[in-house]
């Protein structure tokens, strides 16, 4: 097969960049543990409380260790349930100290929702029947909006929460 000299040049560059991209992705996947947020872990959407993390008393911020937190959330139309405070009011703002390692565990009892902490890498699709998990380190202090980025119904635009990372 005869190839023009220029064709050889761009084939080498094209295939070369594909190889570089795949090597970086492979490094992320196999050495750094980057993976999709749903682990295929299933749950009964009609009875999410059967799963320990989603019992009402376990919702919201749970401190596991120094600088280690687990945040359990039930996303339903059109609200993020972060549990209740001491007075029994629904929590709307969750607070985490800077530099903490945080595991988010989110599920939905009704339809598909999104869980995106704007300005961070936390961005998950929340499907009924599945537990979506993502672990991250929050290094930048500030106030972040948690938004639903999957259209979930007429109140979709009202579905948000706040995450505060404090010094």
């Amino acid at each position: 097969m005869h190839l023009h000299r220029f064709e050889k040049i761009w084939l080498v560059f094209g295939i070369g960049s594909l190889v570089v991209f795949m090597l970086i992705l492979g490094y992320g996947a196999f050495w750094k543990g980057t993976h999709p947020q749903s682990h295929g872990q299933i749950i009964d959407p009609n009875n999410v409380e059967a799963y320990d993390a989603f019992k009402p008393e376990n919702l919201g911020v749970n401190k596991v260790d120094d600088k280690r937190y687990v945040i359990n959330v039930v996303a339903s139309a059109f609200n993020y349930d972060f549990g209740t405070d001491k007075d029994g009011n629904a929590v709307k703002t969750i607070r985490i100290p800077k530099g903490s390692n945080v595991l988010f565990q989110v599920t939905s009892p009704d339809v598909v929702h999104g869980f995106n902490i704007a300005g961070t890498n936390v961005n998950m699709m929340i499907e009924p029947g599945y537990v979506s998990k993502m672990e991250t380190v929050l290094n930048n202090p500030g106030e972040y909006t948690i938004v639903c980025n999957e259209y979930c119904g007429v109140g979709h635009h009202l579905m948000f929460g706040t995450l505060e990372v404090y010094e």
């Binding site: 220029f6 761009w10 960049s17 300005g119």
Partner: protein, 45 residues
């Protein structure tokens, strides 16, 4: 003169791909720069 004729015979039907090469390199540069840009955003957050 003779050698030029010979060269022309060797290059017959060989299209001029200089413009194509430049265009392909522009597309390649765009893809590579965007890819590493997105990777940079992912790593910095």
């Amino acid at each position: 003169m003779a050698s030029e004729t010979k060269k022309n015979i060797g290059d017959k039907n060989e299209p001029d791909l200089r413009g194509t090469l430049v265009s392909v390199m522009f597309v390649l540069a765009f893809i590579v720069i965007s890819w590493f840009g997105v990777l940079g955003i992912f790593l910095s957050r």
